[in-house]
């Protein structure tokens, strides 16, 4: 039976399920305990599992993420919550130099069952230091996996899969998705964590996207259909590894590729996807791959400029129309 629930509630249920299933699962982060989480994700769990399982930390991103690494080495399965991706810059040593490297540098002796959850993205007038996305910075790190759930169902599935995995996994959430609502079927069997999903079928072009841009891309696809263009929309769900197979299969059908990303254009995730699919599908393509991405500026505080700095539905419609024109 599928309930309509918020994205944050799906994450909350996933944490609850895993905390209940395995007493080596712990949650660490700022205000995750008594306060219940900045975005309510850990609501009610402190009362249920106590302070050792739900640990309120000082504001020390670098060290509490590193503490998660150490706890994982000693057999716990820590879920570190970093309040926003912007603060994760202080924890990159722990994520990149430690979590991603230790399993390898130890010659395979130490698995790293660590999950680092953090919301990114442009929300509502939070200004340049609180509006970054940064996914491309983590994509370039062998040894890490990056999951980007766009729906409550994926939030439920992918967080549980991440906790059960022995690999270090970054779960990139989105501040504007926490209070989005959709159905969640807790009984449904999960696809592989990095399997891309076709969210709308079409024959004229393939739109590849992830996280909050999925919603905008689907709305754009609706408008395109009114103009007689049938867009296939793929939700990548994982940025490392990327499900090339499903993307390539779609291009074989549509022959046109449009990538929609919230992060800035230059050296972004879209560049890797365009290059990867260019290598795989060059002879299938009827036109060069195109990208709709954020402008090359820090995100402005001003609301109008903020909205114009990242892709809007109209931008996607225009780019798709041009690609198919």
């Amino acid at each position: 039976m599928a309930d309509e629930i918020y994205y944050w509630q799906a994450l909350n249920r996933a944490l609850d399920a895993e905390l209940a299933a395995d007493d080596s699962v712990i949650v660490l982060g700022e205000d995750v305990g008594l306060y219940g989480g900045s975005y309510r994700v850990t609501e009610g769990l402190y009362a249920k599992y106590g302070e050792w399982r739900l640990r309120d930390t000082p504001i020390s991103e670098g060290s509490f993420t590193g503490l998660g690494v150490g706890a994982a080495l000693a057999g716990l399965r820590p879920v570190v919550e970093i309040m926003t991706v912007n603060f994760a810059l202080l924890a990159f040593d722990a994520i990149i130099n430690m979590a991603a490297k230790i399993p390898f540098m130890s010659g395979g002796q130490f698995p790293m069952p660590l999950v680092v959850r953090m919301p990114g993205g442009v929300a509502k007038q939070l200004a340049a230091q609180h509006s970054q996305r940064l996914e491309q910075m983590l994509m370039n790190v062998p040894g890490l996996r990056i999951a980007v759930p766009a729906t409550p169902q994926d939030a439920w599935w992918q967080l549980r899969q991440a906790i059960r995995s022995d690999e270090p996994i970054v779960l990139l959430e989105h501040e504007l998705l926490y209070f989005s609502k959709a159905s969640l079927d807790m009984q449904l069997e999960a696809p592989p964590m990095h399997r891309a999903q076709v969210r709308r079928e079409g024959k004229d072009l393939t739109i590849i996207t992830w996280s909050r841009m999925l919603d905008l891309s689907l709305r754009a696809a609706g408008k395109l259909a009114d103009n007689g263009i049938e867009a296939e929309v793929i939700d990548l769900r994982s940025l490392r590894p990327v499900d090339w197979e499903r993307c390539a299969a779609s291009l074989k059908k549509t022959h046109r590729l449009l990538i929609v990303e919230e992060d800035s254009h230059f050296a972004g995730a879209g560049a890797e996807i365009a290059a990867g699919l260019g290598e795989r599908c060059f002879y299938e393509l009827d036109a060069p791959p195109q990208r709709v991405a954020a402008r090359e500026i820090p995100i402005p505080y001003n609301a109008t400029l903020e909205a114009a700095a990242i892709p809007r539905v109209a931008d996607i419609v225009a780019a798709a129309g041009k690609l198919c024109g």
Partner: protein, 351 residues
């Protein structure tokens, strides 16, 4: 102190010195590459601390960690093979000199970014405390690491949650080429721990007995559930920061003085070998050390000069065999590297 333990620690120190001097030779011959940070001068710390630890305790170390690994019991051949980058090395040739790991011995790694050992050790301590186990975590770091944010952040958390971590500062007074008074506003590392209400002590890191005794006392407190402790061990490295560093920024007279008067191996021998101290030694040692020396001398089973020679010969053979083992070990293949990376992937097949 038991004579056997004393002999063990002396052998550890002799082996450590011989191993490291040989590593320097192997580096010069091109069998070891990359950054090689050697430990001569600091042996009393690794030996004194780790001989006070239990097998169930966890060790987190820095990039200058060969001797910690040896004292912890990783076979010298396996350590040397890792320095050679070979398949039989303790990290399969993937880590090298700065990244020695041994899961079985709870040797949780050498970390090459200054200040990383603090959060790793604190996290292991968190797991131990949460499970209410009688284990401790030993966290090594140098004087240069105390100005990283992770030192302060981790000490705060360790004290806040009473985690069973022994922070051991190997204070050799230099962060590469910068002397401690030029890198720290407060040059006494132990004082920094006071800001987090962590009991701390400064000890003579050249005296293996002092280090051992202080570690035993600190671990007792930690196992009693009283939270973290910090030991500042004052020491001196006889070589440069790494093989790439001649150490020319240090006054020659300073190095000479430490080598002549403060060599931990010489001190350990003086404390172990049955020989009457000279009048100058007695005068220089002061009353506390006289008692210590005479106390050992009164025991009947101390080492003779001949036994010391035999011990030197034995460790030289061990080091020789370690080099042979490393030289004979095969090179790892790219498939081994991939397998190390994928160790935590289990049965999942990527699309």
């Amino acid at each position: 102190m038991e004579v056997d333990l004393l002999k063990t620690m002396l052998r550890d120190m002799l082996l450590a010195r011989a191993f490291e001097e040989r590593a320097a030779q192997e580096y010069a011959q091109g069998n070891i590459a990359g950054f090689l940070h050697l430990y001569p001068g600091e042996e009393a710390i690794a030996v004194g601390v780790l001989r006070a630890a239990e097998p169930a305790d966890y060790i987190v170390s820095t990039y200058r960690e060969h001797v910690h690994a040896l004292v912890r019991g990783i076979p010298p051949g396996v350590v040397m093979a890792e320095l050679f980058g070979k398949k039989d090395g303790c990290s399969g040739g993937m880590g090298g000199s700065m990244h020695l790991f041994d899961r079985e011995r709870r040797f949780m790694g050498g970390y090459a970014i200054v200040g990383e050992t603090f959060p790793v050790a604190t996290g292991i301590g968190y797991a131990v405390a949460m499970r209410r186990l009688p284990e401790a975590v030993i966290c090594f770091f140098g004087d240069g690491a105390v100005n990283q944010g992770t030192f302060h952040e981790s000490l705060n958390m360790a004290a806040l949650w009473k985690l069973p971590v022994l922070f051991v500062c190997e204070n050799n007074h230099y962060q590469i080429g910068t002397e401690i008074h030029r890198h720290s506003a407060v040059a006494e590392v132990w004082k920094r721990a006071c800001g987090y209400r962590i009991p701390a002590k400064r000890i003579d890191g050249m005296d293996v007995l002092a280090v051992h005794e202080a570690t035993v006392a600190a671990l007792e407190q930690i196992r009693a559930g009283n939270g973290p402790q910090l030991l500042e061990c004052e020491t001196y490295r006889f070589r440069g920061h790494s093989m790439a560093d001649p150490g020319s920024y240090r006054p020659k007279v300073e190095l000479q003085a430490f080598e002549d008067n403060e060599d931990p191996v010489k001190i350990a021998i003086a404390e172990t070998v049955a020989a009457y101290p000279t009048g100058e030694q007695i005068a220089a040692a002061g009353s506390g050390n006289i008692e210590r020396l005479s106390g050992h001398l009164q025991q009947s089973e101390l080492l003779t000069a001949a036994q010391l020679e035999a011990m030197r010969k034995e460790v030289a053979e061990v080091v020789e065999e370690a080099v042979h083992f490393a030289a004979r070990s095969p090179e790892p293949a790219m498939e081994d590297a991939q397998a190390a990376l994928d160790c935590n992937r289990h049965d999942e097949v990527l699309i």
